[in-house]
Assembly symmetry: C2
Homo-oligomer: 242 residues x 2
DNA sequence: TGTACATCAGTGAACGCGCGTTCACTGATGTAC
DNA sequence: TGTACATCAGTGAACGCGCGTTCACTGATGTAC
């Protein structure tokens, strides 16, 4: 037994006390460091300062631990999307855009969760609890899309709300996985992933007939200070048309 | 030595003759079967009917083989996008949509290449040749976006062409990686990924001011048979607005 | 309050496995003369 | 046209490694009486 391990034993006694939680944390750290594919059951045990057999008291196998991480990820993801949506305040379109940004922020700030959720190769049906958690997270986007669909201006394309939800999801996921991961090895862009996604969502919403003429990062309902640009001018966040 | 291996030796003689190519094919098959993470150098050798040391004559290590697969993938990807774009015939918007579809088709039909290209965890800068191949493939989308940008109707948002290219790329990639992979373990949808992406791109193009009023899968310039719906009616591929 | 005992949550040694990689080697091929 | 020889492209055995998993075990904890 290594000195380090002896020491940890001394600190905590024979029983760990909170090994399950410690393993989840360890897995999260390892996934962040080496990716979901590189994460190892034995490594998680080592990181928690425990023998390689100990994790079997809490998880059937490596996949069950990975799946638990993914599930927790979806739960936190749902919470963040919910709080971004904020029940559609101050207005549906603004809140909707905020959901897209929250998606991206999550991918950025929680790359390990994101990996476990979307890139771990876990079959979606590996655990009913995992599937349910994923479903609940998507439910937030879907509910937002329902509200948006109800507001679609007449004389405009009206895809089903579910389809709109999937559109937003795929845009967010596409931008997140191509440009916003912590890998550092991604393509260099002359704009941030946030700007990219925001513009994409704005054009999409415009395609649905929503007015989206304000600049990004400007609070929409009533600007705190009077802005020089008249509302409704046909220029987007990219400057005036030539 | 196994009987199988003896036999292969007998068939082909001491020298394989085309081992490099055989290893690339083997890798492709293995990636399709077990994912980029599960692919193994030793396995590729076995599949090519060759000793585990043989691949080292052709590839420095596992990563170099993986990277070669990804590079070839980007080359084929570029070819398919090019042919879909067809230099903007018969019109820019139609050709642009076709590029999106080609993206999706590639992800569907070549899941192994797609994995190696986008999900293998290879650092983008692992090889200059790989990076260049990726750049050329993206160049097709970008060139298409340039042409589209030049046509953006006045009085409409005008994101830079590069941004438009990235938008299309992220939509395609998002739909492909969420819904169109061969994993079989993906979410069940009431529509096909193709329909989903097509609608998404159409709404986006509409947001840019392009008229996109025809139905999907209907040849745009002049329908072969007269359609009941008058062109230009404000309904999209989802039926008439209520 | 004490004690016997069941249960729980760990240990550590061992196993078989497949991997990546190396090594000295050898059979096949191509080429200079 | 032959032949000697350099080079190339494989072999197969061996290595060290870390993994997942199992096993009988033991220390700690909680509880019934």
């Amino acid at each position: 037994m290594s000195w380090r391990k002896e020491q940890r034993r001394a600190e905590r006694g024979y029983h760990h006390g909170n090994l399950k939680e410690a393993l989840l944390q360890a897995a999260l750290g390892l996934i962040a460091e080496k990716g979901a594919a590189g994460f190892t059951f034995a490594d998680a045990a080592r990181m928690a300062g425990v023998s390689p057999a100990a994790p079997y008291r809490h998880f059937r196998d490596r996949d069950e631990l990975l799946s638990s991480v993914a599930q927790r990820g979806f739960e936190q993801f749902e919470a963040r999307l919910m709080s971004a949506w904020d029940d559609g305040r101050p207005d549906t379109v603004t809140a909707f855009e905020r959901v897209g940004k929250a998606y991206l922020a999550f991918a950025r700030e929680e790359p390990a969760f994101y990996s476990a959720m979307f890139e771990s190769g876990l079959p979606v049906d590996s655990s009913p609890a995992l599937m349910a958690a994923g479903e609940r997270a998507f439910g937030v986007i879907r509910a937002a899309a329902e509200r948006l669909a109800a507001l679609t201006p007449p004389g405009r394309p009206r895809p089903p709300a579910l389809m709109m939800a999937l559109h937003i999801w795929s845009m967010s996921h596409g931008v997140a996985s191509l440009f916003a991961r912590g890998d550092g090895a991604r393509r260099k862009l002359p704009m941030s992933p946030e700007e990219l996604l925001e513009a994409e969502v704005l054009i999409y919403l415009r395609g649905l007939g929503f007015p989206t003429d304000r600049r990004p990062s400007e609070p929409p309902p009533v600007p705190p200070e009077a802005s020089g640009a008249p509302a409704g001018a046909p220029n987007g966040p990219w400057g005036k048309p030539k």
